[in-house]
Amino acid sequence: MTAYYSSLAMVTAAVLYLVAVVLHSLEWATARGADPDEPRSRREEQFGRWGLSVTIVAVVVHVLGVVLRGVAAERAPWGNMYEFVTSSLAMAMTIYLIGVFAFGLKGFGLPVTLLASIGLGLAVTVFYVEVAPLMPALHSVWFIIHIIAAALAGAIFNIGGIAAALYLLKVRAERRGRTTGYLARLPASDRLDQISYRMHAFAFPLWTFTVAAGAIWAQYAWGRFWGWDPKETWSLVTWIIYAAYLHARATAGWKGTRAAVLALIGLASFWWNFVGVNLLLSGLHSYAGI
């Protein structure tokens, strides 16, 4: 029964995120061509506020769904692909909401809710599996440590990636001269670059920890800490790309747009490692359960 309510909450949250996407799209549309020096129109502001309100409700329902899933499974709710996506997205959306009020992520509404609705939509339709106990290899305290770090790092990488993408859009607009409409509502490109950097600079050590904790766990469970399993290889590739991003930001000729592109490649590598490696390549990390 708990599992049923958990699924119900997830589906509800996915639908609410979709509603938020629509509201933020309307916000974007009403801002089209608006003069950045003029105050926001009442309608634009209203759509923005509604979008944010619906998102807040969606996040509450979403987090409830994750908690109920854990209660139903009687363990941490990240034992398979479905659970990982729902948990990691719940973290990302919580961070987004904190960011809106604490460090100016306000313009992020549309891309963030789009990410949440697509991610959670995929989770409840494609990745969904019933509650089941864990396989023996996951019976370890590292199951909690390794995967919570991975989910949190993934959540922050996603927000950081959105910041990098918005930065690229904003830089392009700024280069063309005066920006109007939605892009003008975003923070200045320097600020977006800074947000992107801070997100990645926070998530990168977490990801490093994820890989290291995974290696320690692998030593316990499989008797080797590194075996070039596809998941391990792509975790390293992701790590390398993000390391390159952090260094590129401090290298002449690379800082700015090139670095932001690296951040996006890093995010693509993270997603591939999660979706592609889980479903297409066979390895020891076959926990999708699909």
Binding site: A132, W142, P205, Y220
Partner: protein, 472 residues
């Protein structure tokens, strides 16, 4: 200066690097060192390393999947051999992969050591002297106060010290700076990467690892000859292996019976008895996430499978073989294949190729296993015989039947012998050549032993796996 700008110019400028490389007499060498340790080169090497690792995950790799490589070569006769020549089937052991990461680490060391020195000097030095004109700073602010100069400076000093600044007091003013923790974190992070590389190198020199298959009721002694697979670094000596014996008393495995993820493994538990010289045997439990630790060696539970117990009688009526035979699983429902050899059978030696099905079901798709547990065990064998072979002592693969000198036994109707045995059943071979009895079933486990993480580790060159289903 905002905290973000501290990361600007992580690496010293080109001129500084050139100065540092002044010890090198040749201009070319100096240029090469300066280029190698530049941030741009490091960045390119980093990206190159990432790109180079990708084929290792997409193409089958010889150390982990030799069968996949062989299949790929068969399927791609044009491109396969070229990829092979270029090392694409052993990416992580290839020279070019090693070249990239070694260059990267040289570049890292060339950058990080001078930075550590600069950091040490900066820590000992006081904050910079007061500038002549404050307006030279990009961020500056001014104001006037009625308080006395000394009071203002005292107050400012207290305020800055409380905020964690290091302060330098001069009669005319004070300068202060902070932000050292961040650079310290950077340096520690990069130094620990170098430490990891040193650890890996040490492990690949002195580390070892081996796997052995142990059947229930049998034991494994920690000597080189008892391993089925073994790899070690050049610094390893067989006498490094501590003497102990692990006997597998029982292996318990439970699978999911419910409708969700039916057949998925739920529990593995090996009851073992560990014996060390001069000590009383100790009974211990070995599980996937709980390796045994014996005299500085970790023993891990890696996989499991079935070993049908068979009795082979020869044409003379004597027992030519009796005992368990290890079959290797070929799918998730533990359809397993194996070879039973009775080289001592007389007048003719006998051999059998078998398929073992733990939960056999016969339907229009043929005979197959539908569940990993042993609910309806069936052993299917064909039979071969031939004149006795001279004992050469040459090792042979116990999982493959070398058919030279053997002929397949046929039934009276001319069809090849194909026996389907349930536990307790016996099949008599045609023409009084003997019989095979499927006595029962035991499980086997695959154990891996190696020194624990801290003491040694293995670099990719010696990472491999063999067929067999893993515990996961």
């Amino acid at each position: 200066m905002s905290d973000l700008d501290l990361d600007e110019e992580l690496r010293p400028s080109g001129r500084e690097r050139m100065n540092r490389a002044r010890g090198l007499r040749s201009g070319t060498l100096r240029w090469a060192w300066a280029t190698l340790t530049s941030m741009r080169t490091a960045l390119l090497l980093l990206l190159l390393l990432g790109v180079a690792a990708i084929p290792g995950s997409l193409l089958p790799q010889r150390p982990t999947n030799p069968f996949g490589v062989a299949q790929y070569l068969l399927d791609n006769p044009a491109t396969g051999p070229w990829l092979d020549r270029l090392g694409f089937f052993n990416v992580f052991g290839s020279a070019w992969f090693a070249a990239i990461y070694l260059l990267l680490f040289v570049s890292l060391i060339g950058c990080i050591i001078p930075r550590c020195r600069a950091y040490y000097e900066a820590l000992r030095a006081e904050p910079g002297a007061l500038p002549r004109r404050l307006s030279r700073f990009p961020d500056h602010a001014g104001g006037t106060t009625a308080a006395g100069a000394a009071d203002v400076l005292d107050g400012a000093e207290r305020h800055l010290l409380a905020a964690g600044y290091r302060v330098r007091r001069e009669p005319a003013g004070l300068s202060a700076e902070k932000g050292y923790a961040r650079e310290a974190g950077n340096l520690v992070f990069h130094l620990s990467l170098i430490l990891v590389l040193v650890g890996l190198a040490w492990g690949s020199l002195f580390g070892y690892r081996g796997t052995a298959i142990v059947v229930e009721g049998q034991a494994f002694s920690n000597t080189l000859t008892q391993y089925d697979e073994f790899s070690a670094g050049i610094g390893f000596r067989p006498e490094h292996l501590p003497a102990f014996t692990v006997a597998l008393d029982a292996f318990e495995v439970r699978f999911e019976l419910g409708p969700v993820q039916r057949g998925a493994a739920r529990m593995f538990r090996a009851d073992v008895t560990v014996t060390r010289p001069g000590q009383t045997p100790r009974q211990q439990v070995l599980e996937v996430n709980a390796p045994l630790s014996v005299d500085g060696t970790d023993v891990h539970l890696l996989g499991h499978g079935y070993a049908p117990v068979v009795t082979i009688r020869d044409g003379n009526g004597d027992v030519a073989y009796a005992g368990p035979v290890v079959f290797l699983p070929t799918d998730g429902n533990f359809t397993s294949s194996g070879v039973i050899k009775a080289p001592d059978a007389r007048p003719e030696r006998l051999a059998f190729e078998g398929i073992f099905l733990p939960s056999a079901v016969i339907d229009d798709q043929g005979m197959r296993s539908v569940f990993p547990d042993a609910w309806n065990p069936q052993l299917l064998v064909n039979a071969w015989s031939g004149p006795p072979k001279q004992e050469t002592g040459a090792p042979e693969n116990i999982y493959v039947l070398d058919r030279t000198g053997l002929t397949q036994l046929l039934r009276p109707d001319g069809q090849p012998v194909r026996a389907s045995l349930e536990p307790g059943a016996t099949y008599d071979l045609p023409d009084g050549r003997g019989s095979i009895t499927f006595d029962g079933l035991r499980r086997w486990t695959k154990l891996r032993s190696r020194p624990p993480l801290a003491a040694g580790s293995c670099w990719p060159a010696c990472c491999w796996r063999s067929p067999g289903c893993r515990c996961r």
